[in-house]
Symmetry: C2
Amino acid sequence: MNESDFLRDYDPTAYEPMAVTADVVALTIRDGRLHVLLIRRAEPPHQGMWALPGGFVRGDDLKDAAARELAEETGLLPHDLDRVHLEQLGTYGKPGRDPRMRVVTVAFLAFAAWMPDPKAGSDAEAAAWTPLTATRELAFDHGDILEDGLERARSKLEYTPLATSFVGDEFTISELRAVYEVVWGEPLHPGNFHRKVLSVPGFVEATGTTTERGGPRGGPRARLYRKGDARLLHPALLRPSREDEIR
Amino acid sequence: MNESDFLRDYDPTAYEPMAVTADVVALTIRDGRLHVLLIRRAEPPHQGMWALPGGFVRGDDLKDAAARELAEETGLLPHDLDRVHLEQLGTYGKPGRDPRMRVVTVAFLAFAAWMPDPKAGSDAEAAAWTPLTATRELAFDHGDILEDGLERARSKLEYTPLATSFVGDEFTISELRAVYEVVWGEPLHPGNFHRKVLSVPGFVEATGTTTERGGPRGGPRARLYRKGDARLLHPALLRPSREDEIR
DNA sequence: CAAATAGTGTCTCTAAGACATTATTAG
DNA sequence: CTAATAATGTCTTAGAGACACTATTTG
């Protein structure tokens, strides 16, 4: 292989043009339900359909491109973005997934305790936090990407302290349990969950304070906790009943 | 946003040119040690350095591009490729990781029980299965990619039956244990491992036969097993002693 | 007051790991 | 024969989950 072959290989215009986008599956919990950030497409193809927010990767890093896109759609400031967990989910590049041209999409997964109401970005006529129970069919293969993101989120709750990204700085064990119940989609045993969380080293750390009031329907004040210093939960909090996924 | 803005966004030549490659971290076990497939770069940059095999994504799917690259470097036939586990590892796109131009690399992870000796492909003057203990510094950020691949491999042995991809169709529990020991880099208790593997539903399935001979240094003939139908190991085989990774 | 909830106690069963033991093979 | 190894047994301890219970708070 000589130098001209070499340069030809590195000239994308010599082959099919290829675009790289960074799309985001942004999850948050509102009103006790899991929500995903969606935009309504203002242009064809799939005009009028809901899709994941995303945009072209320019001169920045892939993760920075995803963060920028998330900030654009949500109105988050760079300062707020520091408090959002953002990780790479996977890359989707099947030919034909975008009817116009070859598009390779690097998908990211974002978790946040609270996010402002979205404002429409430049490439969407509307953006909205949508309850997962209400999601319709999405544009392109974004339905698959969303499914992969949800499975990743469910899985990461098991062996990382990620659930603390969904709650505020100080939280009660019940609030943490609500995160697990909403993401996993099944009720957990309050007493066992409580004891389990406190038994995992570094998961949470007591603040020494309690809530001002008890629950809205009674009950004592709950102790408040902060995120601990563990990066992995050991032992892990495994999901109950996944018999169907094993075989 | 009007149609011309739109098309401009989809024309990659209007911005920095971007290339997409599929690179492969191919792992196999030879002589009781973990090996990775490396090529020696025939062209600058990093001429003469070792690197992961990879190539540009053309009109095919990302995974197909990775499989093609793997086949090229190893001389594997499509038929053999069916028996190789191939999964997406992650995508690396930091600006400057290739000094020539913006390159986004989708990395794949491959596991195989046995692979033929590599032959040099078109863009390498040499290719070789290299013991991991003997890997020098790699070109580009391939050292990081390799590290990520190894960690993924170690982790997947815990909760999937992936170890069976490293052994032949029929194998003994000791052979399976050797896979775990080599990938995890630490000895395991033979008796406990044996009982544990057999206790995980669907991990392995007895063939009813045994090896022809005992071990090279004595011992009874071992029973032979096949891969079972489990997709997830439950309970998982957790790595011992990862205290350092928890915090 | 009744109802709800936080937090803890207790019991059972499973699983992990340390260690021992027996049977079978190679050399 | 001895050394090595396959396979199983035994014991201890940790952890998951079911269930009960007390204390505290709301309305």
